[in-house]
Amino acid sequence: MSDQLDSLWADFATAHNEEDGYLLATTISPEPPKHDPARLYNWQRWTNAYSVQTDLRYKLQYNPVLKLDKQEASTWLEVFTAHYAFTGKLLAAEEAQNAGKSREADWSAVYEAWKEVLNALHRGYSRTDFAAWTIPCLYVVGKYLRVFAIKADANAASQRDSSVAFGELQEEEDPYGAASKNEKLEDAARQINRIFALCLSDRSETVLSRKWALYYTANLLFKTYFKLTSISLSKNILRSLAAAGTDIPPISQFPKAHQVTFKYYSGVLSFLEEDYAAAEGHLTEAYALCLSSAQRNIELVLMYLVPTMMLTRHRLPSRQMLSQSPVLEGLFLPITTAIRAADLHAFNAALEKEEEEFVKRRIYLTLERGRDIILRNLFRKVFLAGGFEAPKDGEPGPGARRTRIPVKEFAAALQMAGAEVGDGEGGVDVDEVECLIANSIYKNFMKGYIARDRGIVVLGKTNTFPGTGI
């Protein structure tokens, strides 16, 4: 029987001999590798709970191929023992799931068992039994911890609901019971935080350090916190990383995958804090690093980058950029078209149509600022439509554009665009128009001033609409 498990041990040995962390990680992964799909089952059947320790010890310590020192071997023993127990639970849960009895699948137990694996690994690292090249194991353990936590929470939630339907005693009555519907995920967050602390506190030199797992772990934490909507906790992570300063190698030396995710989350966090300049920086970098084939990632990054750019640079995404993803097109194309055409009506309609999605992503309020751009474009059109004045004597070419524009012209334009400038009696509320113009001037979209008594707007001669070349 142990022959069937040979591939596991072969991989383990190879990994150790070649210091291939990723290969090592596959040995403890909950998902069997492609070349050995029956691994988990074999693993389970290879021994039983009674003799698992002895069997493992034989394999780990007395294995001629494997050269582990005693301490390390015993730590791996712990890990694999825990992993064994875990596999049992996992297989049971998966079977229940496959058999259609998903409610009986005890993902909670799976989660707890996986946590034990994590604990064993954690001990290994804090006792510095494991070398730094093994840290992909941490990646695996953290990643699946989240996965199982989410599954366990989902399961618990569905169980709660079903028990209500049957009138059973509620879990929630028990004050010692499940504290919240994200109990496992919260617990997972704490565990991953432990790993984070573990990595951060590694004092060994950079090459051998566990610090290389930092950004991956940070990303896991971000994902978890976002799911738990305790976004403020994410700031702590950023702060710790910032505080570590020069102890950590610069982010550019980490794997690209880590970088992209990290920059994405930093960007979103800055965005939510309304630090749009920083958000622009982070998200642009993330976008640049993103693989063009990673469509979902691109969607996510652009989802926040587009509103940010709109705000900071008053720039809209090109059709080409949006065409990378149908989701993005659906969300942003109507808005950008409306803005370009300075069509307020269309803009409002577009905003309303996808309002729910925007609000969910918290970009609604930012997109609203698109209105400012529309107004600017509108006023610009009025300016351009104003034509040219006669050239001054002696000056060649067409004259300057007309800079003294009656407020009424702006009012007309606004009315046509669908702005709400009516005074309730069919006319135009001139004060409202003036207010909108004043705002444009105040926000530096337009240069000039209003001469109220004469009912005109005097625009600047040069660079009248900053940023547009007019």
């Binding site: 005693l169 009555e173 004050p175 010692y176 738990l228 309020l365 004060d431 105040y442 001033y449």
Partner: protein, 506 residues
């Protein structure tokens, strides 16, 4: 957990009442009953032995507890059942002690302040009304399991307000559903109780939850929440440091009358200190009795309105938080009005995160309500800097939103002035300013006083150092030199938006 840790074996020493054999952590076990025990049970059920005021279900539960504990500790054979006090006697003795004996198991922080007790999951809101049947003292032993340690609060994620209100409002609804077929497991609660007590290391003589459901409804309510007996209409507010004695707590009917009384007094005298004090005490009485019904909503709404009128934002925010949770339980009241207030309040506190959350929570139905629409328009106008629209909306605020807007109008006026100064050159008429900044409409009732608005506007301008820029032209026209006042109002605006203070009361 079956083992009874050593330190709980010590019998209670705080009362004169004969303690139970052990405060055991018990789950009912299958035990064979000796004839003595059976005789005891028989005696308990005999009508002759019944004590008035203690009805059958109660006695039964008590009996169950007694026997279970005895079984747990293996004392079934040890106790002399023939002389052991009957369940009814135990109940009666307990009650007598209730008045004297302050149960020390409360997590005090949970009872302080009119904050809803989190996690009193064990009973439905309606039970309080049922308790009206018995006027005499119900158990004083506030079911400990209702009071959880703060760290055990269920939903600690999310906004602070969620933490304060506690998430179990929805639970109580589910409770009602579950009651019908729920077989209440007494033993479990005793066990849970036991564990909690162990954590705090104190003992009570009666480990059992006091079953006080006098009604025969299938809801086996595991606990008897406090029902007050005080009949006083007026009561001052005192922060609780221990579970209150029932004779200081007013029952529901009295509370209803009290609310009415407070309201009429407010209308007559407008004494905020008095009203606030009374309302807080009302809220407290509602909270300790775990009452969550239309009356609760009315009380919080009343207090919120009064606080708003008096610009007490701290109290207002407390009430608003509670109301948000109460509205989720569909208890009626005026959700439209208060949703509108909420939006305006968030505008005032410049809390973008909350605004996002509120917008996400709004349903389509909510957005149809005119009050809410108005608030949303205000938000939209302010977000785009459209001060003109804002001031028009200000004049038309429904309900009492005007009070909230009054608080932001000062800084919005400054912001508007900043815009105006930048955009208008060389100057504008005072009249125009007065109109734009809505100085006319909150002028005095004296319609003939045309200059009230402009005069107030002038005051406002001078308040912010605009005096040097006011120019009185011939012909009575007063103008304000906007071109020169740019820097002034820019600075004022920056200062105005820097910090929002709700006087420390989150």
């Amino acid at each position: 957990m079956q083992t009874a840790p050593a330190y709980t074996a010590v019998a209670a020493r705080h009362t004169l009442q004969r303690p139970d054999p052990t405060p055991a952590s018990a789950k009912p076990q299958k035990v064979s009953w000796s004839p003595d025990v059976r005789l005891y049970v028989q005696r308990a059920f005999e009508p002759d032995n019944a004590i008035p005021g203690i009805d059958l279900p109660m006695m039964q539960e008590k009996l169950k507890v007694v026997i279970t504990q005895a079984a747990e500790t293996g004392q079934l054979g040890g106790i002399d059942w023939s002389t052991y006090p009957l369940p009814q006697d135990l109940i009666k003795a307990e009650r007598d002690q209730a008045a004297i004996y302050g149960v020390q198991n409360a997590i005090l922080a949970n009872i302080n302040a009119p904050v809803r007790l989190p996690n009193e999951a064990a009973y439905p809101p309606g039970s309080a009304t049922k308790k009206r049947k018995n006027g005499d003292v119900d158990m004083s032993d506030l079911e400990p399991r209702e009071i959880t340690p703060p760290w055990k609060k269920k939903d600690t994620k999310g906004a602070l307000e969620d933490r304060i209100t506690g998430k179990n409002k929805n639970k109580s609804k589910k409770e009602k559903k579950a009651e019908a077929s729920r077989a209440y497991d007494l033993g479990a609660s005793a066990e849970v109780l036991e564990r909690r007590r162990q954590r705090f290391g104190f003992m009570t003589p009666e480990p059992s939850p006091f079953l006080s459901s006098r009604d025969d409804s299938p809801e086996a309510v595991p606990t008897g929440p406090l029902v007050g007996t005080c009949q006083k209409l007026e009561k001052s507010y005192f922060r609780l440091t221990a579970p209150p004695a029932p004779d200081t707590v007013r029952p529901l009917p009295v509370l209803e009358k009290a609310l009415h009384h407070i309201r009429s007094k407010w209308r007559k005298e407008h004494n905020y200190n008095y009203a606030c004090d009374q309302l807080k005490s009302l809220r407290q009485d509602l909270t300790v009795q775990h009452v969550q019904n239309e009356l609760t909503v009315k009380v919080y709404e009343a207090h919120a309105r009064i606080a708003l009128e008096m610009k007490d934002l701290g109290e207002y925010n407390q009430c608003q938080t509670q109301l948000r949770a109460l509205y989720k339980s569909n208890l009626g009241g005026q959700p439209e009005e208060f949703t509108a207030y909420r939006i305006l309040y968030i505008i005032y506190t410049c809390n973008r995160a909350d605004m996002n959350n509120v917008l996400a929570d709004l349903t389509t139905a909510d957005k149809q309500m005119p009050g809410v629409q108005h608030a949303l328009k205000v938000r939209s106008a302010l977000a785009s800097g459209n001060y003109h629209k804002f001031f028009r909306l200000y004049n038309d605020t429904p309900f009492m939103g005007g009070y909230l807007l009054d608080m932001i109008i000062q800084r919005e006026r400054i912001a508007a002035m900043a815009s105006i100064c930048r955009a208008y050159k060389p100057d504008v008429s005072l009249h125009f300013l007065a109109q734009e900044l809505a100085f006319n409409d909150n002028a005095s009732d004296d319609a003939s006083d045309q200059d009230a608005g402009p005069r107030q506007c002038l005051d406002f301008l001078c308040q912010h150092g605009g005096e040097p820029f006011v120019e009185r032209k011939d012909g009575g026209d007063v103008r304000f030199a906007t071109g020169k006042a740019v820097a002034l109002f820019e600075g004022a605006k920056a200062a105005a938006f820097r910090g929002i203070d709700i006087k420390g009361q989150i």
